[in-house]
Amino acid sequence: MSELLRVDDLKVHFSQRGFSGRKRVIRAVDGVSLSIDTNEALGIIGESGCGKSTTGRAIVHLEDPTEGRISYRGADVTHPDAAARRAFNEKVQFVFQDPMSSLNPRMTVESIIAEPLRAFGAWDRVTGPARVVELLERVGLPAQFASRYPHEFSGGQRQRIGIARALALDPELLVLDEPVSALDVSVQAQVLNLLMDLRRQQGLAYIMISHDLDVIRHVTDRIAVMYLGVVVETGPADEVLDHPLHPYTAALVSATPPSSPDEHRERIRLQGELPSASNPPSGCRFRTRCWRATEVCAEVVPPLEPVGDGRSRACHHPLDLGMPTIRTESAA
């Protein structure tokens, strides 16, 4: 395994004009560093407004980075010229959350899946249709779907069409933004199984962005937890979710319903609400809601520091490793 993509101190700020006409700067992503290896699956979790989607969109140049550096196989692709961007897009593809709005309703499935091939001059009128059928089959859809239109399909099928399109150019990395959150559970399982298979069979790497801890834990190796524009903790998925070091991770895990009625989590009740990304708290951004916060948290920004075993956390008062998040009750 070698490093595929690396993000260093990425910042994405948006300017917004309020009612008063005064300009506000929304610091949606404010210093995120990540890396992903070939054939690795990285999850980014966090709640609404934490900047996880903006991070994903900036990686594929759907948002313009304000600061920081994005490199792909060692080459800087932060602000690529047209040629470099084309080369990057061929290798890194994006899958959108909403399969309704990301497929053109007036195009057939074949032309949707063929579009990236056409755009990259890889479309051949003779062999093209067979390539589309091959892609459909890879995502578990029958060949006769090629001539139909998106409205004829269910949400799960549409999402698989979106994934087939993303696979058309044989990418090395997929960035998936909440790919299953619009889907029913039984259908969600079809799409997650597909993603796991693609990784095994094709050596694909992916970054999955989701608010769903169970989904992320199931399909990724490593996760990054985001809060208000920054990464607060990273590490192997099971370790981070079973033994969180950062109080925010612990609170997030504790608020997620366990998978069985026999399990109960010790609930950590967070006080207050998410502060505004235009005016984040000084020091640690989580300190206004953290029950362990002290003076130092208001003054010094905690750096994301490695603590061994592939784990890092950005906290002045991290939790003990031994703290379990789940308690199982013996069934009555």
């Binding site: 039984s186 259908v187 989904v215 834990r217 366990p258």
Partner: protein
């Protein structure tokens, strides 16, 4: 069940007009709600769970045809009530909470006044002070901090989770016997969802109100509901205590639904995906509606020709499967 039912549905059947034809949306929906319990209704999109709630209060689209053997509530049959009598039940004795709080809240009226109004409309002789006192008590019960001042704010000044708690307070202000909550936490982040579920549980504990919790999220069900009604294609396929359902489901659909969630598996294991998709309501199979997707080893000719009724198994569990007495193995 020890407590007497406060609400009981018997044979609720609903036809909706689409184009020139009537389509059967609910088929013979039958279940009881006990006083002071939280009962979950789960199912995927289009299974009829929301329509079931709307049928109870007869908040139905025009040209809907509702037939029911009986919707029993406090000795009366809601299905046979005149509109004026029904209005005395709606919002007063049976409250309703929808997914999006902004469909309930008026954006240009102070939150507190809206709750006052919900009280005074059913208590015409109550003064402003009495109504406000009642509203504040409910806001405090559902965990709104600084209720007295917050009540004077407008909905846009409240966060999504706070708004949903205001809607719950509004549903509770007339001391109803039952609250119907349709996906009340689906639009909310995990930490906020947990707070809203706490509010519903506190209402049950302190006011003794029964809650019918409609959700697609089995995790939520597993943590708050004592019993579960599982719906598929407009009919009830299983009714069970939450523990029994998760540990030993008696219907292949419920079993598959429980095992299709990532949380129920070890990381990276294939998930149980239910192949295909739910049938169109206008084109239901003659036999069991789940038969075309069913992976049960017991599936037989009978499943294709004869529709199973919701009946007790040998050990008294309610399931609409011909093979309800066989153990449900889940085929991955």
């Amino acid at each position: 069940m020890t407590a007497a039912p406060v609400l009981s549905l018997e044979g609720v059947t609903l036809d909706l007009k689409t184009g020139d034809d009537y389509v059967r949306i609910l088929r013979d929906v039958t279940f009881d709600v006990a006083a002071g319990e939280i009962i979950g209704i789960v199912g995927e999109s289009g299974s009829g769970k929301s329509m079931t709630a709307l049928s109870i209060l007869q908040l139905l689209p025009p040209k809907a045809r509702l037939t029911a053997a009986r919707i029993g509530f406090d000795g009366a049959d809601l299905a046979g009530l005149r509109p004026a009598e029904l209005r005395k039940v709606r919002g007063r004795r049976i409250g309703m909470v929808f997914q999006d709080p902004m469909t309930t809240l008026d954006p240009v009226v102070q939150v507190g006044r809206q709750i006052d109004e919900a009280y005074r409309i059913h208590h015409p002789r109550a003064g402003r002070a009495e109504a406000r006192e009642k509203s504040l008590a409910m806001l405090r019960l559902v965990g709104v901090p600084d209720a007295q001042n917050r009540a004077k704010q407008y909905p846009h000044q409240w966060s999504g989770g706070m708004r949903q708690r205001a809607v719950i307070a509004m549903a509770l202000v007339n001391d109803p016997e039952v609250i119907l909550a349709d996906e009340p936490t689906t639009a909310l982040d995990a930490t906020i969802q947990a707070q809203v579920l706490d509010a519903l549980m506190r209402a049950r504990d302190e006011l003794g109100v029964a809650v019918v919790l409609i959700t697609h999220d089995l995790g939520v069900i597993s943590q708050v509901a004592s019993r579960v009604v599982v719906m598929y294609a407009g009919g009830v396929v299983e009714i069970a205590g939450t523990r029994e359902l998760f540990a030993d489901s008696r219907h292949p659909y419920s079993a598959a639904l429980i095992h299709s969630r990532p949380g129920a598996h070890r990381r990276g294991e294939p998930l149980v995906a239910i192949p295909g998709r739910p049938p169109l309501m206008s084109d239901l199979p003659a036999g069991c509606p789940f038969a075309p997707r069913c992976a049960s080893p017991y599936k037989s000719e009978r499943c294709v020709t004869q529709r199973p009724a919701l009946e007790p198994s040998v050990d008294g569990r309610l399931s609409a499967c011909h093979y309800r007495d066989e153990p449900q193995e889940v085929i991955a």
